[in-house]
Amino acid sequence: MAPDLNKKLEDEVEKYRQTQNDMKKFVTQQQQLFITKTENEFVKQEFENLDSEANIYKLVGPVLVKQELGEGKETVEKRLVYCEGELKRLASLMKDTEKKLEIHREVISKIQQQIATNK
């Protein structure tokens, strides 16, 4: 009985570790998205303060291309919407992963108790 339980424990701990790794990846992605979002918000602010006569340029590879202020604003706005969507998706993914982690923890503790009482 005990060896089976020990194996079960090992499996559960392994699953827990994998879920933790997933969580870490999500956190990193979230941080990256925050950075991108903030950067785009800065640019949006700067664009708001410009009048329509101002010239803006976009860096496309090694080339600086002149752009319409309206187009630039649109591009930034689209990026912001994308970031927010991704952040929301990540947030709900992270909530689910947190729940998974909690379930793993409970299972692990139950198995540990069983092992203890069987001794």
Partner: protein, 157 residues
């Protein structure tokens, strides 16, 4: 140990926590402090960049002055040239966008960024200061515990 005790110094009940828990809190505090210090350093570095840009723009010659300069073609070769339009500068505002501005506007932009970073640095410094204080308190508590332990050991002899 609950996460709450690690991040709310005012809630700590020193007498109620065991030595192991206090050690854990101290380790957590230490890593928080290090993270804050490195963040503040990175912010200061970025701030310096904006300060230098401000300086660079202020040194631009106006149309009435001589605006000849040397342009680097490689790391060891320069060619003489002239600044064609000292009235406009292209400012990198992030995410691949550049805005054409007058030098004065560019300086305002850099000053704004510089000041904004200062505000953020100040916020972090406040948090850092609180954590440093808490760490001091915890070190004091640990000291007390150690002394008590020593006294107990001496009495048992």
């Amino acid at each position: 140990m609950s996460a709450a005790t690690a991040s709310a110094p005012s809630d700590q009940q020193p007498a109620g926590l065991s030595m192991a828990q206090i050690e854990q809190v101290r380790t957590q505090l230490q890593s928080d402090i290090e993270m804050l210090q490195s963040s503040i350093q990175r912010l200061q570095y970025a701030q310096e960049g904006f300060g230098e840009s401000m300086l660079a723009v202020s040194r631009l010659p106006t149309n009435n002055q001589d605006n000849s300069l040397l342009v680097p073609l490689s790391s060891s070769m320069y060619v003489p040239g002239r600044l064609s339009d000292p009235d406009h500068v292209l400012v990198d505002v992030g995410t691949g966008f550049f805005i054409e501005m007058r030098p004065k506007k560019a300086q305002d932009y850099f000053k704004r960024k510089h000041d904004y970073i200062q505000v953020e640095i100040d916020k972090l410094q406040k948090v850092l200061y609180d954590k440093l204080l808490t760490r001091q308190q915890i070190n004091g508590i640990i000291q007390m515990h150690l002394q008590q332990q020593q006294q107990q050991q001496q009495q048992q002899k």
